[in-house]
């Protein structure tokens, strides 16, 4: 393996008795040095970055291609074009093979071949076993270079998408995700907007062909290869596949645009006749581009303590473990290099205890902004982040994936070298300072999907009601028609 483990472990004089408490156990040091990125990074003659992590433990190979493009490039009246292009790329056959023949060949080779178009990232993956690497790569790159976008498969795909749309109001979590995106970034922004039937009807095969020609190009690619390969040989092969790409092209506009909506804080509700309210509350945080900023480590520790580390964190402990109000409760702090990230607390609780759980979450947000975290909490968070760090580099696929991820968002590989030192340097003052700076109680948007007549009054013991929260006001959001997304009568 490639990673630099220096494991001087075990068999050293382990005591023969059992200590009364686990803290009395002594462990040998586990040294870990971040693998040298230069050993993995390569560049093809045409400039495409390729990260190769060879590992011949098993006869398995993975190739992942990420592209800097996405739905932000599609016309406003054809929302969903980027996604459809990705799925049809895979299911629509190639110039040589009709869709059924392509599927048959891929499955006969037992090769996992996939493609997708996302909001700010498209991608294609190949997973195969060594004996069929050549045939699998041929097929994979034939798909990427010469897709057919078969008309009949497009019809099937559209009908399937339509069926998926019909389910938009079935799962409370789906309603929650859609309305949350809209509350934070509006219905028009590229990563929060949703495809309607009209959008879909406006998309024709020719649109997919053009989208592919313009954006599914080597200029936008970062490639990773991991597994049973010889790096020199695989680079030669990749060069053959990725040079002389058909057509002319330039890198896609990058990065994607930024949202303009100012979210309106307060409580929002969508009605659904279910016994449990599903809740998200929080706000956006600024786009993260300065990866040397030590506030990031302090923020991660802050979130670890607040609600990001399961039972060890405050929100989970109070809402789930102390009060038994939810199965799943916690917070997350997402950093995003391409647009605003978000700070959120999520949980699901029976309708009449939604208010109580919300009150607890808000109290904890306030507490971490006003009181310094305990030394023990900070020590646990630091130890956890530092000790689990080597695990991110454990496999060849992970190492290649991490460095390719850096290349994709334009972060220096050196970020990883100093990361643990940044965590070690964080103090209780730092945690308090970043909590005050980044958590904004006044900006909190609260959204619940559930049965309002049970949610509003709160619990039978009168411990909390929605009247006590968000100024006692709530905006009831209407359910949308699943195909048009227009307000239902």
């Amino acid at each position: 393996m490639n990673a630099g483990w220096a494991l001087s472990v075990l068999l050293s004089a382990a005591p023969q008795s059992i200590p009364t408490r686990p803290e009395e156990l002594r462990f040998d040091e586990l040294r870990f040095d971040v693998p040298d990125p230069a050993r993995y990074r390569h560049e093809l003659p045409n400039g495409v970055a390729v990260y190769v992590a060879p590992d011949s433990t098993f006869p398995l190979i993975s190739i992942r291609i990420q592209l800097r493009q996405g739905s932000y490039l599609e016309p406003e009246h054809k929302v969903g074009l980027a996604g459809l292009t990705g799925s049809l790329l895979r299911s629509g056959g190639t110039e040589r093979l009709d869709p059924a023949a392509f599927d048959e060949e891929a499955e006969f080779l037992a090769a996992g071949i996939s493609a997708f178009g996302g909001d700010s990232r498209a991608g294609a993956n190949l997973d195969c076993i060594t004996p069929v690497l050549d045939q699998s790569m041929d097929l994979f790159f034939e798909m990427l270079r010469h897709p057919r976008f078969d008309e009949a498969r497009l019809t099937v795909e559209k009908e399937n998408v339509l069926e998926a749309m019909r389910q938009r109001n079935d799962e409370p979590g789906d309603i929650l995700a859609r309305e949350w995106d809209w509350l934070l970034e509006g219905e028009k922004f590229y990563r929060s907007r949703r495809m309607t039937k009209d959008h879909m009807d406006a998309i024709a095969r020719g649109d997919l062909v053009v989208f592919h020609e313009k954006y599914w190009r080597p200029e936008n690619m970062v490639v990773t290869v991991s597994g049973d390969v010889d790096p020199a040989k695989i680079l030669v092969k990749l060069d053959t596949y990725l040079s002389n790409w058909p057509g002319e092209g330039a890198p896609a506009d990058w990065p994607p645009p930024q949202p303009t909506l100012e979210p309106r804080p307060g409580a929002y509700h969508v009605e659904k006749d279910i016994p449990q309210g599903t809740v998200v509350l929080g706000h956006s945080v600024p786009r993260w581009s300065d990866w040397d900023n030590p506030e990031r480590a302090a923020l991660q520790i802050m979130n670890h303590i607040l609600g990001g580390s399961g039972f060890t964190s405050r929100i989970t402990k109070r809402i789930r473990s102390d009060e038994g109000l939810a199965y799943d409760a916690g917070s997350s702090l997402g950093f995003d290099a391409l647009g605003p990230g978000s700070f959120t607390v999520s949980f699901q609780s029976k309708n009449d205890t939604v208010a109580l759980a919300t009150e607890i979450a808000l109290e904890e947000i306030e507490r971490i902004r006003t009181e310094p975290a305990g030394d023990e909490e900070i020590a646990i968070a630091k130890a956890s982040l530092i000790e689990t760090f080597p695990r991110r580099f454990e496999s060849a696929a992970q190492i290649a994936g991490i460095y390719a991820g850096d290349a994709f968002i334009g972060r220096s590989h050196d970020y990883w070298k100093s990361w643990r030192d940044q965590v070690r340097a964080v103090t209780a003052d730092d945690v308090l300072r970043v909590a005050r700076k980044y958590l904004r109680p006044d900006a909190i948007v609260f959204l619940v999907v559930g049965k309002w007549e049970e949610i509003a009054p709160g619990d039978a013991n009168g411990r909390a009601s929605m009247k006590d929260l968000f100024g006692g006001e709530v905006t009831h959001l209407p359910l949308r028609d699943p195909l048009t997304l227009k307000v239902l009568p």
Partner: protein, 507 residues
Amino acid sequence: MKRAGFGILSLLICAITDGSEVAKVPVETFELSNGMKFLAVVRPELATVSAGWVARVGSANERPGITGMSHFFEHMMFKGSRTLGTRNIERDLQIVEEQERLQDQMRAVYREQRERYRLGEIGDPFADDARPPELVELQRRFDALTEEQRELMVKDEYDRIYTAAGASGLNAFTSEDVTVYFLTVPANKLELWFWMESDRLLSPVFREFYSERDVVHEERRLRTESTPTGEFDEVFDAMFWQSHPYSWPVVGWPSDLRSYSLAQAREYFETYYAPGNLTAALVGNFDLEEARALAERYFGRLPAKEPAPDVVTLEMDPRAEKRMVAECDCQPQVELRYHSVPFRHRDSYALEVLAGLLNGRSGRLYKSLVLERGLAADVAASQDSRKYAGAFSLYAEARGGASPEDLERALLEEVRRIVDEPIPERELQKVKNQITASAYRQLSGGFHLLLQLLLYDGLGDWEYLNHWAETTLAVTDSDVKRAAERYLDPEERTVGLYYREREGVKP
């Protein structure tokens, strides 16, 4: 791990490897004198050890009145021990007992409540607003003790110690047959795992028993009551399994969740968490001899006990077709389910191949129902091999105007074709190529391998991991046809038909 020698054959000959070498995992095994079994896979290239253990107990071992107990246990095992979780173990244990006496009195009141419910005097006997004053008073006294206990508690100490030590993925799951506990620790901290796991098996304290019940209730609301088909899935299972305890849900019936006692839980623990009913597994970077010594030192402390009772109720032979008609906020869909065979049954391999022929983009169901006939948006087939019995399922979700009955007919036709028509050699080879590839894929990733070892040993024998591919590759077309004919008898099917709730997406 030593690489298998591959003979790379031309695709024209069909097989993607020469089949002489199917991937195998070198597993070391040993057993302690108390009957606890260990499986070990040393992977020096890793920086971690993934470790876990399985208790051979699940909802199938329950009975009416204590349904959901196995899953509830999975939660209770994180509540600490005599050493972990409290600053004052004497008082803590007293509180647990005092609370239990109050709960006994509350259960007596609920017995009367059920009587009133049977007489039609009240609705839900557990509803907050149906509580008589004495119950409110008992609850108040109970809550006061909880407050006192909390002052002494070191909350979730078990989780905190692991977290501070750099453990990750600490979790557990419960099925009808097994309960599995697992995590990943840094390679230098394997002894911590031995300490922590043997401690919670040696002296567990089921504190917070009754508040955790509320958490489980929320879990039930989340997974079953607030999902489009969750409650119908329960109806369908209860209808499919006639005599076997697989008929009740793993999470348990709500009224049972409200009724168990600590005494019942302790009895369950004594019976099913005895060392002879457990298998532990380690996958990662460790020294085998050291692990063996640690296993002896830590888990050797668990006293041996009588073997756990077997599940004796056999599923009755199906006698009639059964149909469920459901309306929900869901796509029109259908499931056809047949009684088949359990884990490692000789016919289970042919049924896996049958599922392989039906599944996938180039598989029969997708080709026919999705592409050619345009009836379905999604299709699937699966063989569910449980410990005591099994089921084979066909599933389709409608597209356009297709009704669940249309889908049912189309699925039945595909079963008929398997039985009546020859299976092309290349089609069978395709499924076998996928089996060869997945036999390798299952080996990569220490954590995934750990879960498979524990699951397979919990169901019967971990060696299935090294046998299934070989055995499945030997399946012939006539084996598949025979299995389809024998188990997918149209007159013995159970059918679930789901319709979208009639108009009015409710405001």
